[in-house]
């Protein structure tokens, strides 16, 4: 049993509107799962369903190998979470908030509170009332609270929001450490690919309440297609030469001066030689990869197309 989270056809609808539907997701022990999607596409709702804060209207959830029911609470001991903007008892100090949390979680270890505060670099302000904290500090404290009870699963909703670049770096390192040293499974949502592609092992893309795809980052890196990009001042002539003289069919004009050639047998050197011989003015020629942004953007656009045709068919 390596799946810590597994959902089958998980859905939530309010009235007639589906907020989340048909989500099949699986998160393994010791992996960082990036939950990627634009704002308002149901990421938080899925996380709240995992925590039992929102009751699913369809499908099922399995956590740590056991199916959730109404009122099941035992599994909550093993989960740390920060959903949306973290809330605190603001009159209490940071430390008191964490102590209270530990008491409710039934986790008694004074040292782990200081350790958590240290990991998010909040030591020194633990005696201040949370009311006086900035947004970024609250965000750190929320993460400290989530990890202070040594959970096996962490649900973090947009954890990097409101952090400065240095804080972001600290958090990224922390996430990797939690995964590598404690074997924690992390489900981290974000609406920005750049925020999670560096830490995630798997990425689940959610769009319009549907989990469009679940891919491992290794696969993503492999399948981001390579191409040769030519920048020329005469793209019309270049296109003509490519298709008529060199017999290349699979290329695309991107912008006014740029042409991309996919799966050509020719190397950039051979290409440049052939183009120069045919009097195509070349500004630059490079071998490139699809950026991850493009990869996921295409995936999301594909998802929309799929959803549209699905609706049309219905």
């Amino acid at each position: 049993m390596t799946d810590i989270i597994r959902t089958r056809l998980l859905g939530k609808s309010y009235g007639a509107a589906d907020t989340v539907s048909g989500v099949n997701m699986s998160v393994k022990r010791g992996e960082i799962y990036g939950f990627l999607g634009p704002n308002g596409t149901g990421k938080s709702t899925v996380m709240k369903m995992l925590l039992g804060l929102v009751r699913p209207t369809g499908g099922e959830i399995e956590l740590f190998g056991e199916r959730l029911h109404d009122g099941s609470i035992e599994h909550l001991k093993r989960i740390g979470h920060m959903i949306e903007t973290p809330v605190f008892y603001e009159k209490l100090t940071a430390e008191q908030n964490l102590e209270l949390h530990a008491e409710y979680m039934g986790y008694y270890n004074k040292r782990s509170i200081r350790e958590a505060l240290d990991l998010v670099q909040l030591l020194g302000v633990e005696g201040k009332p949370v009311r006086q904290f900035s947004l970024g500090m609250m965000q750190r404290l929320g993460i400290a609270r989530a990890i202070s009870t040594r959970p096996e699963l962490l649900l973090l909703d947009e954890p990097i929001n409101g952090l400065d670049p240095e804080g972001i770096q600290v958090m990224r390192n922390l996430f990797r450490r939690l995964r590598d040293e404690w074997g924690v499974a992390l489900l981290i949502s974000s609406h920005l690919l750049s925020e999670i592609e560096q830490v995630a092992d798997t990425i689940g893309v959610i769009q319009g309440g549907r989990l469009i795809r679940e891919v491992s980052m290794d696969d993503v890196r492999e399948s981001t297609a390579a191409y040769v990009e030519i920048v020329t001042t005469d793209s019309v002539h270049a296109a003509f030469v490519l298709s008529e003289r060199l017999g290349i069919a699979n290329f695309k004009q991107v912008g006014e001066r740029t042409i991309r050639i996919y799966d050509s047998m020719l190397t950039p050197e051979q290409l440049s030689k052939a183009l120069i011989v045919n009097e195509v003015p070349i500004h630059s020629i490079n071998r490139r990869h699809h950026t991850l942004e493009e990869y996921f953007f295409n995936m999301i656009k594909g998802g929309e197309g799929h959803a549209a045709s699905h609706q049309a068919g219905a």
Partner: protein, 231 residues
């Protein structure tokens, strides 16, 4: 359950509430003493003619005070948790939601019950002591009067402790502190107002059934709490 109550006490500075209660005692005592001295049996239209009337007067004011006081506590303990969304924190703990709510409600129930009893005893005792010196009321203070009044206060305290939960049923719908407190004041106006020496709660059945209604109402509003979406 005791552990949960202890944790609730950790969240807020409840010593402030104890001081508040003591100040309320003092104000009630001062008010009743003033009544006793200025509108006592010596005046043409006395506020109370005998011990029974005096003690019942005290009881009415005490209940009115602590029903409103309870609404403030409920607002802090329950309504604010929903309003500030800290409830989404509480409900994600490995603790039954019903137990969390029950801990909060039983705190308010117990607090109100105890304060109604204690305030009656303290202020009643004080006025009896004053009367022993000044003797405005000349009827004998029999054990019978005290015993009957004791039972009466006990029933009233139970009634008040239940009734004080009713504003929560209304206030929680709107997640509003103001609604909670205002509805408690409305309840007090209806139940405790004095119309020519008669008020609704002088018939013991009325406050006791209101108390039961308060308990039933809160039970109904939290019956499905396990299935409710939060946040």
């Amino acid at each position: 359950m005791l552990h949960l109550i202890k944790l609730e006490l950790k969240k807020g500075r409840f010593s402030a509430y104890v001081w508040g209660a003591l100040i309320a005692y003092a104000l009630i005592a001062a008010f009743m003493a003033t009544l006793y001295l200025t509108e006592g049996t010596a005046s043409e239209e006395p506020a109370f003619r005998n011990y029974e009337e005096m003690l019942r007067g005290i009881d009415t004011i005490v209940r009115a005070t602590f029903i409103v006081y309870a609404a403030v506590l409920l607002a802090k303990l329950v309504v604010n948790e929903f309003k500030d969304k800290t409830i989404s924190l509480l409900f994600a703990y490995p603790v039954s939601r019903k137990k969390i709510i029950l801990a909060k409600l039983s705190m308010v129930f117990g607090w109100t019950f105890a304060n109604v009893l204690l305030a009656n005893a303290v202020v009643g005792g004080l006025l009896i002591a004053i009367n022993a010196r000044l003797g405005h009321m000349s009827d004998p203070l029999t054990a019978q009067i005290l015993y009957e009044h004791g039972i009466f206060v006990l029933m009233q305290a139970f009634g008040a402790a239940g009734t004080c939960l009713l504003p929560l049923v209304i206030g929680l719908r709107k997640k509003s502190v103001a609604t909670t407190v205002v509805s408690s004041i409305l309840i007090v106006i209806i139940v405790c107002s004095n119309n020519g020496g008669f008020n609704l709660s002088s018939v013991v059945a009325v406050p006791v059934s209101l108390g039961l209604l308060g308990i039933l109402g809160t039970f109904m509003s939290f019956r499905n709490i396990d299935r409710v979406d939060v946040g």
